[in-house]
Amino acid sequence: MTAQDTTPALRARAMASLHRAQAPHQSGAPAGKPVRRLPVQKDWPIWALVAAQIGILLGALSLWEIGARTGWIDAFFWSQPSAIAETMTVFFTTGDAWTDISFTFRSTIIGFLIGTTAGSLLGLSFWWSRNYAAVVQPYVICLESIPKLALAPLIILVFGIGLVSKVAVATALTLVVSTLTAYAGVKALDPDGEKLFYSLGASRLQVFRKLVVPFCLPWIISVLRVNIGLALTGAIVGEFIASQHGLGRAILYAGQTYDIALVWVAVLVLSTLAIVMYAAVSWVESMLRKGVRQ
């Protein structure tokens, strides 16, 4: 019954669409092929996007708070937004917030600078002698494959529980990455470029300064953002193992004393610090890129 009813209707509709498809240009798509248009996505305005993002955040926080109050979420293990906000105020007014932040910040930045600089120089130095590079390369690869964080307890033993040991862990993590990246730059150097310099009567130092270093700079710059993250990881792990200050130490201490709200506070502060440093390094990177033009 229904089939009999719909079949002519369907056919009529198909004919109509066929006419529509064929009407503007005679030799259009073959008969029966559905007319399809490019799917177009309409972009939301910025305010709508931001509103959606904030809405999700507020929604999640409210659910958490309500859940904790009604006992649906165990506030002992998960804490709750109101308690976290309270702890945050205490942490910044009467607590060690600024000491901890400054400690973690310093060890990260110093480790980042030492690791990146020394690593880049080491990587560039492989250009000077093929023999030297061949001898040293296996060691660098070994160093790369060792999980550096596994060495952290040893580093703490050697350098003590102060700032130096955190700097050392951060340096260990960043150094190898910079070395390998700078070396990759050296290996990507066009031998014809060196040929050009030597045909102009250049000395090795001139080739290094005027060709190798500027050529490898984009490589070196490209790992800055990776390295700032690694340095922060190194500093935090160092603080986990043994430290008197730092956000990592605050997280560990709060966890051990079941002060879950303080764990959240320290993690939030740490994330903020990470974002700020990442943004700063990205800015430095873009400035440097403008400077080296590649």
């Binding site: 014809d192 310099f197 102009l200 009567g201 250049a202 033009r293 590649q294």
Partner: protein, 266 residues
């Protein structure tokens, strides 16, 4: 120097490379003698050792035998004696065109400001006006080649080696660049050794063409080009020009078939 002594002399230069499969004879003893101010071309199939000769003359490769003389003085294995332009323009991407062009002077410790002052008028005169402070990525292939050639010229050597400088350019640009090179050559009176695949290009530009053969690389014929200068584009269709071109092509073809015969016998 007396004008009779050749500017550049390649005396019995030979080259053998050691390879895992044994010695590879890249260059049989080759002798070339080029007077001051001449434009001389080398043509030949790929693998005939053209680039090897250039590397030896530029001091980038120590020949197995023979010597390179510039102004009659032994210059074998010394760098910085001749201007050498490779096929790739090799412009440094982080330097402006102006700072690329002065690279040779900079390496020779000419103060930067003096070098730039010397280079600027030349950039203006030879078609790079308005490009001085741009970076190489903003330039077309022809413009980049111009910059590379000016860099070679500003290096201030009497002899310049050009290794297929226009090989990667499209046909139109190539013709334009050939005219431009002729202009530069007559303005600067350099001694030029030019490598190309393009028979017509070599005849059109040169005073003398050396045809090279392979296995081992060697010069199989030297053909003087008596066409009057300045040359005009139309001359490539003249009977004289076509006769020379036919001769060159024949020599190249003979060598190809001969080496094929050797290959088949082996």
């Amino acid at each position: 120097m007396s004008s009779s002594a050749p500017k550049l002399c390649v005396a019995d230069v030979s080259m053998t490379f050691k390879t895992p499969t044994g010695a590879f004879h890249a260059l049989a003893p080759v002798t070339l003698s080029i007077p001051q101010g001449r434009f001389v071309s080398l043509i030949g199939p790929s693998g005939c050792g053209k680039s090897t000769i250039f590397n030896i003359i530029a001091g980038l490769l120590e020949p197995t035998g023979g010597r390179v003389l510039i102004d009659g003085i032994d210059a074998t294995g010394t760098i910085g004696r001749v201007g050498y332009m490779l096929q790739k323009d090799l412009l440094l991407l982080w330097r402006t065109v102006l700072d690329n062009v002065i690279l040779g002077m900079e390496i020779q410790h000419v103060p930067l400001r003096a070098a730039r002052e010397r280079a600027l008028p030349l950039l203006h005169r030879y078609g790079l006006a308005g490009f001085e402070y741009l970076y190489p990525n903003a330039l077309s292939g022809g413009m980049r080649q111009r910059a590379a050639l000016l860099r070679t010229l500003l290096f201030d050597t009497d002899v310049i080696l050009l290794d297929e400088p226009f090989g990667a350019l499209d046909a139109q640009t190539k013709l334009k660049m050939q005219e431009w090179l002729m202009q530069l050559w007559s303005d600067f009176s350099k001694t030029v050794l030019f490598v190309t695949h393009d028979v017509e290009e070599s005849i059109y530009l040169s005073d003398e063409v050396h045809v090279m053969g392979t296995r081992p690389g060697r010069i199989i014929a030297t053909i003087p080009i008596p066409l009057a200068r300045p040359r005009v584009r139309g001359s490539v269709l003249s009977g004289e020009f076509l006769a020379i071109k036919e001769r060159c092509l024949e020599l190249l073809h003979l060598d190809t078939t001969a080496s094929q015969a050797v290959n088949e016998a082996a």
